[in-house]
Amino acid sequence: MASDPVDVLIIGAGASGAAFAWSLLETRMRILCLEQGSHLHDSDFPSRNQDYELSRYGAFSCDPNVRRLQQDYPINSEESCITPVNWNGVGGSTINFLGHWPRMKPSDFRTRSMDGVGDDWPVDYHTLAPFYEMNDRNTGVSGLAGNPGYPDYAPPLPSIPMGRLGRKLARGFNELGWHWWPSDAAILSQPFDGRQKCVNAGTCDLGCAAGAKGGTNFTYWPILERAGVELRTECRVREILIDESTGLASGVLYFDPDGELREQRAHLLAVACNGVGTPRLLLNSVSEQFPDGLANRSGMVGRNLMFHPLTGVSGVFDEPMRGHEGPMACSILSQEFYESDPARGFLRGYGLHAGRSTTPMTFALGGFGIDDPIPWGAEHRRIMDSVYPYLAGLTVVTEDLPEPHNRVTLDPKLTDSDGIPAPKITYSLSGNTRRMLRHGAERATEVLLAAGANKILKGDCEKVWWRAGWHQMGTCRMGSDPANSVVDAWGRSHDVKNLFIVDGSIFVTSGAVNPTSTIQALALYIGDCIKSNIENLFD
């Protein structure tokens, strides 16, 4: 059964879908968003329970293969050293992201011309800067102005507390003469826009019950729903339809909450399903015109998958670091080794992120993103009593360069609960990344020692975190050339003129920073391009 067409159909209610919808509000077009998950209610947040940590290993795991909720789709990661993690629901992965909010840097958009690797974007930092700023205001971003790592900008709210751990490490960086700065965070340091400030619970990954973290469930969606954007939850899109006579996308087929297959028509479609979900949907949308998947004449849909491979180094200090208090990921960030220096033996660079330490259960089970429990027996007792409270750590977050063989395809057997083929990840680390991880682990060790650590705990940095697949980028890359890119500089498909992609899949390179700030700035920018060209949008 087909419904009346809407003006704009957005698939996915996460970071990018919400920002894109907000951008189009002023057009007064009829906007509909289909979201496979649902709203979280206040009582759903595990951090209100005594045993909140348990939920990390069940219904609030970041890994959909562990959660296995109705709205989740399985992901075959058997041929990858990193598995994608996410949240499916209103807010998308901003529900369980950690709110770390660094921008990409100018050189991130010019890696080919400046460093001879990756590719240049068809947009640049300075074009996106106003949209970063707009999004920071909408989200409520805390930070300290004057960071010499960026062109000048000022976050709207004061920085969140660095805590004892952050101050200790900052002094270590100063001792070595290296860059660091209080992290920008999509976490409120002050009450803002009717939302309460952060209570330093340290459970950002379990959804923020306080509403202080800038998930789009707390930022954009209340505004959008009040303004009349229709949000249909528990609706999973199976495929995007093509009008064979015009070559335009005509709508979608989706499963409604009762499992009934329905058709929704639309004049303009925007896909916002993240770097794994978006290529999955396009590859599942096969037609006579697009036998290899929608908008895939270039063959680039699903290719160039980029994550941010991570490794961590911890130091043991003489006083308790109280690392469980405060936002998990955002204390301070060093970008001393972010820009290319060929003398280091690799191109591009990495950040050293001072997050906070995890809560006891998570630490005992091996840490966030890792599955290697600490020893049992007398050594367990010693570690928990004499090491755990005294820890401060640095995470090495590396830039991942685009490589066509790292990709998302469709699994020939695995499906979700509606029978839609699931994604399969094929991914391996490059030599450049491995050298970066080694270099980063060595530098992190130097900082921790300079900060006063009396012992260093370092794993095998050849073994990256398995659940490090938060940042999924590159699988429908932007570009000017239809032969080697999926969308143009406006996020519009080269092949289908009324189909836009607005999520992290359009990244050309990954930078070495958490991508959500850039994802949303891009979504706002694409919305602005649409508004500016509305008269002849489909020419």
Binding site: S47, L144, N174, P182, V199, R381, M384, P389
Partner: protein, 151 residues
């Protein structure tokens, strides 16, 4: 609690759990078995059949009496049944550290972290100025690019 295990099996299991997470008598931190983590396991294995099988396998391979459940005996079980041992170890850690009283004993709040959270003092402007001064003094550390030239 559950009738899942005989008294002898429960005693063996408690002894095994005490080896996995021993007590710290000086700080009055109890061991996992003495704390009753086996009750947590019993709840879990009502919905995790494989966990029940793993525990049964380990108990069947264990010494006959709880008194003989030493770290050496547990190591032997770990070597002989690595998958089953790993399953038990993970759930033991979950059961032990999901207890608010244990969290407090390792320095973490016993309360649900919302709505109370933790009090973390913000750095003063003067402190932030002082800490960041050396970074600012070193100047810009990024490479800028001009806007794209449209052809």
């Amino acid at each position: 609690m559950s009738g899942l295990w005989t008294d002898e099996e429960r005693a063996l299991l408690d002894a095994m759990l005490n080896c996995l997470i021993p007590a710290n008598p000086e700080r009055r931190i109890p061991a996992a078995g003495d704390l009753g983590v086996a009750d947590f396991l019993a709840q879990r294995l009502r919905r995790e059949v494989e966990l029940g099988s793993a525990i049964k396998t380990l108990l069947n391979g264990a010494p006959a009496h709880a008194d003989a459940m030493t770290p050496q005996a547990v190591t032997a079980l770990e070597n002989e049944f690595p998958a089953e041992f790993r399953a038990l170890l993970s759930v033991t850690y979950m059961g032990y550290y999901s207890r608010p009283d244990i969290r407090a004993l390792v320095g973490v709040g016993s309360h649900p972290v919302h709505p109370e959270g933790y009090e973390v003092e913000s750095e003063s402007e003067a402190l932030l100025d002082g800490l960041t001064a050396p970074v600012r003094e070193r100047g810009r550390n990024y490479r800028d690019t001009g806007p794209i030239r449209k052809s």
